[in-house]
């Protein structure tokens, strides 16, 4: 397996908190990439530190380990960490009454926001994060 299939900086397993959002840099100086690592039982959930909605740093969001849920710190969007799917937009409860008022807003055109859960391999006490398509 070519090393170019992986991001250049592996993530040491030591120091990963099982209850917190662990933010780690896995890119290089030319292409810096920050990811959030969540310890989920014996597995790891690794996503870009970038909300697919507006680009918020997900590492500053809220983690619910029981529901495997990660909430965006800017807009509160709730994502399933296992699948990456957007589970809930809590703002619909506040702004639902306004969402039919504007011609330029078409909720049917809202993208299906989804976290890209990055594939990885564990070798020698380190997580090697794979580039390319999510598993």
């Amino acid at each position: 397996m070519s090393s170019s299939n992986f991001y250049p900086k592996p993530i040491p397993l030591d120091g990963l908190s099982p209850t917190a959002l662990n933010v780690r840099a896995i890119g290089d100086s030319e292409n810096p990439v920050d990811v959030v690592v969540v310890v989920d039982g014996g597995e790891y959930r690794i996503v870009r530190d970038l909300c697919p909605h507006m680009g918020a740093p997900l590492s500053q969001g809220k983690l619910c380990t029981e529901e495997r849920k990660l909430s965006c710190p800017w807009h509160g969007y709730e994502f399933n960490l296992a699948s990456g799917e957007l589970m809930h937009n809590p703002n619909d409860e506040i702004y639902g009454c306004m969402k039919t008022l504007y011609k330029s807003f078409n909720p049917a055109k809202t993208p299906k926001y989804r976290l890209r859960v990055l594939p990885y391999e564990v070798r020698g006490g380190e997580i090697h994060v794979r580039r390319g398509v999510s598993s």
């Binding site: 680009g55 740093p57 509160g76 506040i94 702004y95 008022l101 504007y102 890209r116």
Partner: protein
């Protein structure tokens, strides 16, 4: 007795981005959670929205208030008719009538935004000695909110390019008074970079 003060700040972003961030209401109760504890809408009439808002003053004192926010496109927001909620609960707004005005305008020399915040507090004589304390609290909360907005704006600039309002203009993105925003700023989409957060994640 009326106490008035003004805060003027130069913001390192375009006017379209500053106003887009202001109208991107879905962030209010999340990004500004250190000062805003809850939010709901009581009434919408044209460009007037009556909000019910929970606030945290000085980091610990929780109050709930209702107020009207009126929008004068493209960059003027006025907040007034602030009342305690529930009405019977003795609170600041029973004694002080507050009107706040926020304007975003283009900087005359630079590619930046001038944010002008005007506040008028009409208070009885016995609260007059505390006017500077009230001003300090309002200024501090306003500054904190602005700084959180600017941190968001600058991070988005870094990833998507300065002045990129494409995500605000996208049909699927909800904004307050979105038709007005699109009418005034849709032409700026031309010069923005096409990247979106979803593309960066791909």
């Amino acid at each position: 007795m009326k106490h008035r003060f003004r805060v003027v700040e130069e913001q390192d972003c375009t006017v379209a981005v500053a106003i887009g961030a202001y109208l991107d209401c879905e962030h209010y109760v999340h990004l500004h959670r250190s000062i805003m504890t809850k939010l709901s809408i009581d009434k919408v009439e044209g460009r007037k929205v009556t909000w019910r808002q929970g606030l945290r003053w000085l980091g610990f004192l929780k109050i709930t208030q209702t107020f009207v926010m009126e929008y004068f496109p493209p960059g003027h927001f006025k907040s007034y008719d602030m009342k305690a909620y529930p009405r019977w609960l003795p609170q600041f707004h029973h004694f002080v009538k507050t009107v706040m005005d926020v304007r975003y305008t283009k900087h005359p020399q630079r590619d930046a935004t001038v944010m002008t915040f005007d506040c008028e507090m009409d208070m009885p004589f016995f609260l007059w000695p505390f006017r500077n304390v009230f001003q300090g609290i309002v200024e501090k909360m306003h500054h904190l909110k602005d700084q959180e907005d600017l941190d968001m704006i600058h991070r988005r600039d870094k990833f998507f390019g300065r002045g990129n309002i494409n995500s605000y203009l996208a049909e699927g993105q909800f904004l307050l008074f979105k038709d007005d925003y699109v009418a005034h700023f849709a032409h700026e989409a031309q010069r923005a970079q096409p990247a979106t957060a979803a593309e960066l994640n791909a």
